[in-house]
Symmetry: C2
Subunit: 315 residues, 2 copies
């Protein structure tokens, strides 16, 4: 394909060896790049892992981002090194996004957000997928596009870094709600209505935080919402589904492979919405459910029972 | 619920006794209305079925709309009778929507479009769902809301009659594409990307034809797209799924219970898009596939292989 020119082999450091970090490492490796994976539990020092990197990809869980960003800052990377943030979540303490944390610590490096409908297991199987790389720097975004893009993994550039990132964080809360809906066997009609009414809620919060509305209708917003809410592979969906089956949150999280970021994001989101008075009825019910303030049945009934009124997906 | 006031029992005639007509008849009956169902294959004359009706609900297949509208015109209904169009499709000869056909024949009666993510089988099971009733006349829309609305079937009013109707027609073509994608086992990531990129295509056509963009982000647009593309109950999805399994279109349609409107809609849509030069890459591949001009694999490959470029869900 004319525009898929893998002209240059780059040195890529991938931080985080979970399923998502591994999938990204595979994609870069398959494109002929030299890939060094790093985990805080591994034997390689962070300094050694990133020593010669042209691109550092962070696929670590939300709770680790602040600490790793501080460590990378101390390493004084050259300002040409591109930092790719592939973490989806919000910081509980500060409500900052991962890219905002990176930017604060590495103000002179280009930051690129990578986010989209990307279930890791499918990407590892070589199934086709598409994603978004967003950055203030189009040049940096295009370099990251070159690192990952292939016929099977389509990578689109976008200039709305924050909007791209927020779609990936906020949809995890909706995925819990949709998991509850499916766990209660309410059917496709109910699930479709719930997801449709969730999108304006995401956009209300996302644009308030600085994202552009249009971004949320794209792959990193709606696309990721669809993937996360329609696949049993999604961990956040699984949390909701199992809550609906009557399991306790503590047991579900203990048994889960990997992190369900939506559990933390719901708390952060509700605190934020309360402070800024943004209406988030769906996320609010998820938060009540996660905090044991209502049953799955009550949460869903509350969402269905809102007064009849003109349809408005106004943002 | 305060706003669900079923203050008045009305006489409702439901034209069409397929699964959708039956589901609507059940909903009205359960709300205490007097319901008369009619089918062209039945023994009741159309004149008798609609004789005392306050509301006439048309749930007949697209191909029957023109003939029945002409018959109703000849019956000279009182101008107070509300006509509800619940058919999803486009007329092959004229590219008109059902409500446009009704309006031409019954210019003095209020016309209301009813459309949303409403798989009939789920509604018959009493599972929760939401829909949209759209009309130039808010009063007529609210009367129809009263006919059907219940705690389990939420009905929202909208003033964009055409946009509401077009979402329901156009998404059937996308459902065929998504069925192909799933039939080829391409996974959740690919399906989510396809649906995300289909929505702007629907909006491009829909707004060109006179609908409002915002409507397509609501229940009758995105909501219906989600329901149709994520349930094996959808006939249009089934057409795509079985084409991907190598079955012939003729055999699939012969075995199908009910009509897959998307097959006709694809033809109409491509003719229209050619005439008006609207880009519809997804619908175009569906049309090529339905007309035997490419294989399912080729159709999907063509959609995945578009050049890498900035993400734009521009309409």
């Amino acid at each position: 394909m004319a525009s898929d020119h893998y002209s240059q082999s780059r040195a890529i450091a991938v931080l985080g060896t979970g399923v998502w970090g591994s999938a990204l490492a595979t994609l870069a490796h398959n494109n002929g790049h030299s890939v060094q994976s790093w985990s805080r539990r591994g034997e390689t020092a962070l300094a050694a892992a990133v020593a010669d990197a042209d691109v550092v990809v962070s696929a670590i869980a939300m709770k680790g981002v602040t600490a790793i960003a501080a460590q990378l800052k101390a390493l004084e990377l050259p300002s040409s090194v591109i930092l790719v943030s592939a973490t989806k979540g919000l910081d509980p303490q500060t409500t900052r996004t991962p890219s905002q944390i990176w930017r604060a610590e590495l103000p002179h490096n280009p930051i690129v957000v990578l986010s989209g409908p990307n279930l890791s297991a499918e990407i590892e199987q070589g199934l086709p997928a598409a994603t978004v790389v967003a950055s203030d720097s189009l040049n940096a975004a295009e370099q990251v596009q070159d690192v990952f893009a292939s016929e099977r993994f389509r990578v689109y550039t976008n200039s709305d870094c924050l909007g791209t990132e927020l779609g990936g964080a906020l949809k995890n809360v909706v995925a819990i709600a949709v998991g509850v809906c499916d766990g209660l066997n309410l059917g496709t009609n109910a699930r479709s209505a719930l997801m449709t009414r969730a999108l304006p809620e995401l956009i209300r919060v996302g644009t308030h935080l600085g994202g552009e509305a249009e971004t949320f209708f794209g792959l990193s917003g709606l696309g990721d919402l669809l993937a996360t809410c329609t696949s049993p592979l999604s961990r956040n969906y699984q949390v909701g589904y199992q809550l609906a089956q009557g399991q306790s949150l503590a047991k579900i999280l203990a048994d889960l492979k990997g992190t369900a970021e939506g559990v933390n994001t719901a708390n952060v989101l509700v605190a934020l919405a309360n402070h800024e008075t943004i209406p988030i009825p769906i996320s609010r019910q998820v938060d009540r459910l996660l905090n044991g303030k209502c049953s799955p049945q009550e949460a869903v009934a509350e969402l269905m029972a809102r007064d009849l009124k003109p349809e408005a997906c106004s943002i």
